[in-house]
């Protein structure tokens, strides 16, 4: 299969706004220069829900995503509107394993403001695009970056996300190119 035949699969989990999925797909395609395709939604696996926390555990979701997507999908990104967590953290905007094939992001907190009020769609689109690009880059083995303005710097709170431009620093671009070469995508 030629590298241009490969795709990034965008997988809605449960009900997800179509415009948000489109924005995510368009930004991933622009940044990673790999075609994206939005697939029909799938339910979130039951085992991911933690009743005690009232949230969904990212790990079973990532496992589930690993079983989805067509053969030519080089990576898959799950998008959900429910609140996500990993066992050590109270919440996450998204999660990916370094060098893994799947990532998942949640718009649950991205759609809300400081006082939990809904944010305008433009703000939500921007945040969702940034988180999607950031988490997807982790699957290409990019760790967090010390360059503050780089999209790969860490942003644990919403205000940090809003402050950052959607941009890879020159080091991260180099690392990404290296990984593309390794994967035969260059």
């Amino acid at each position: 299969m030629r590298s241009e035949d490969k795709i990034i699969a965008v997988q809605p989990l449960g009900d997800v706004r179509a415009d948000v999925l489109e924005v995510i797909a368009a930004n991933l395609q622009a940044f990673f220069q790999i075609r994206t395709k939005v697939f029909p939604d799938q339910p979130i696996p039951d085992g991911a829900y933690n009743a005690h926390r009232g949230q969904y555990n990212c790990y079973p979701v990532l496992q589930f995503l690993g079983t989805l997507g067509p053969d030519h999908a080089i990576k898959i990104i799950g998008v959900t509107e429910v609140d996500l967590f990993i066992p050590i953290l109270t919440y996450v905007f998204g999660e990916a394993e370094l060098g893994g094939n799947a990532t998942v992001i949640s718009t649950y907190r991205l759609a809300r403001g400081k006082d939990w009020e809904p944010v305008p769609s433009r703000r939500l689109f921007e945040r969702a695009a940034k988180i999607a690009v950031h988490e997807m880059a982790h699957t290409f083995r990019l760790p967090h970056c010390k360059e503050d303005r780089c999209i790969m710097s860490s942003f644990p709170v919403l205000s940090h996300i809003d402050e950052k431009p959607i941009y890879f620093c020159r080091y991260c671009i180099t690392f990404l190119k290296d990984e593309y070469e390794k994967l035969g995508l260059a």
């Binding site: 790990y59 967590f85 066992p87 953290l89 109270t90 860490s154 644990p156």
Partner: protein
């Protein structure tokens, strides 16, 4: 930054590992305290994230052990069962911080940032400490004690002149190193430093060694041989154990020192020579002079300036510095990953009286590195188990103390000469000589 996550829950370990790896840190995990201690024996870690509640040894106990052995390691306690009491206990025992899981992402990031800064400070402290230790090194001599600092200053003051120096001090204190330092800091440093152990030769052999001989000068002199005096021309002649020189040789050497001339055996033609004389002795030459066993004129000639090297027992504040110096050297030479000395082992080293001084300490550390299996030298690695360690000052003359100590060491080692000599930091020939000198006899078994 090298981090270890210690938690009995696999999901927590892996989750934290994955999260930290995204920040570019090297992360290892341990499922319990014993696993963590084993890993700490094998590898160095900057930060430990330790769960308080674990089966077997709990996190607080692990924290105490780590702080005792590796105080520079930063430990942060994590727990889902946190209480103020355990937090206070952890902080009192040296934990850097305390977190309840699950963590707020911002808190965890701030904590990691704080740890990076702390690590930087720890490294800086270490660097400063090492810089300070730089002051405790002088040529190849090591010591931060007042006595050693005074010695370094004296060497520096005396070195540039040509004045003869007599170095006094017990066996193994580093007299030859002092002589080498004097040479290295003198204008003669580019010329040879020639050492002669006067105690190792018979009178005739010493004469030939010092002055050389022509071919056929005596039976067996098949070739012309330059003497050490001639070899030291322009440099420094170091006469070790000068107290052992026979009265006849003292006369010959005195003439060389006064006239700056000597002649090879078998050649009447005198040769001019120019060297600086540095001598050393572990014996009481002043007493020998009074007893007329040592020539007074020769004594005054070699002893224009006296430098006394303190015995190790009088500068125990240097023990740790010296022990770590030898540990570093032998770990590297022997390719062993032994980086520390446990507190118990260090207590033993400090309480011992070291009759063989720094040389004995060096031998003990070398031996411990050879047989040591852990990252730290432990009491069982030290050769003192079956040796009574004198903890109180022993009354009596130096000779009596030496005799008693050798006798005790021989007894403890079952009269194994090689082992006893190793422990005493002397060679077997010297030990045999001392056994003979003190009339020591192996008890009939």
């Amino acid at each position: 930054m090298n981090i270890m996550v210690v938690d009995d829950e696999l999901i927590i370990r892996e989750s934290l590992k994955g999260w930290l790896e995204k920040f570019g840190y090297g992360v290892h995990t341990a499922e319990d305290a014993l696993d963590a201690l084993e890993k700490l024996e094998r590898e160095s870690y900057d930060v430990l994230l330790v769960d308080i509640k674990m089966p077997g040894m709990d996190g607080i106990e692990l924290l105490k052990k780590v702080k005792e052995d590796q105080p520079d390691v930063i430990v942060v306690m994590i727990t889902a069962h946190g209480s103020i009491e355990s937090a206070i206990e952890a902080m009192k025992s040296g934990a850097r911080d305390y977190l309840m899981k699950p963590f707020d992402p911002e808190d965890l990031e701030l904590l990691i940032e704080k740890l990076v800064q702390t690590k930087r400070l720890v490294d800086q402290n270490k660097w400063l400490r090492e810089s300070y230790e730089g002051k405790s090194r002088f040529q190849d001599l090591i010591g931060q004690s007042e006595a050693m600092q005074e010695l370094f200053q004296l060497i520096q003051d005396v070195a540039p002149n040509d004045t003869p120096v007599l170095i006094v001090g017990e066996t193994g204190t580093g007299k030859e190193l002092v002589a080498k330092a004097l040479h290295a800091l003198s204008p003669r440093r580019y010329a040879p430093f020639v050492a002669v152990n006067c105690g190792a030769f018979t009178e005739t052999l010493l004469e030939s060694t010092l002055f050389g001989h022509e071919k056929g000068a005596f039976t067996g002199a098949y070739h012309m041989q330059k003497g050490r005096v001639e070899m030291a021309n322009g440099g420094t002649l170091f006469l070790d154990e000068v107290g052992e020189i026979s009265p006849k040789m003292q006369v010959d050497l005195l003439r060389v020192l006064e006239e700056k001339k000597f002649h090879r055996l078998g050649n009447p033609k005198p040769m001019t020579v120019d060297f600086r004389l540095v001598s050393a002795t572990h014996s009481d030459i002043e007493k020998a002079v009074l007893d007329r066993a040592f020539r007074q004129d020769f004594y005054y000639r070699i002893n224009v300036i006296t430098i006394a090297v303190p015995p190790l027992r009088e500068r125990k504040e240097d023990m740790e510095l010296l022990a770590y110096h030898f540990l570093g050297r032998y770990s590297q030479e022997l390719n062993k990953n032994i980086t520390g000395i446990s507190k118990e082992a260090m207590d033993i080293l400090t309480s011992y009286d070291w009759p063989g001084n720094v040389r004995e300490l060096e031998n003990v550390i070398e031996r411990s590195v050879v047989i040591g299996k852990k990252r730290k030298i432990a009491p069982e690695d030290l050769p003192f188990q079956d040796v009574r360690i004198p903890r109180k000052p022993v009354a009596g003359s130096l000779e009596k103390v030496e005799k008693d100590h050798i006798s005790e060491m021989l007894r403890a080692c079952g009269w194994n000469i090689a082992r006893t000599a190793g422990l005493l930091g002397i060679n077997r020939t010297t030990l045999y000589k001392k056994i003979k000198k003190y009339g020591l006899k192996q008890p009939a078994s």
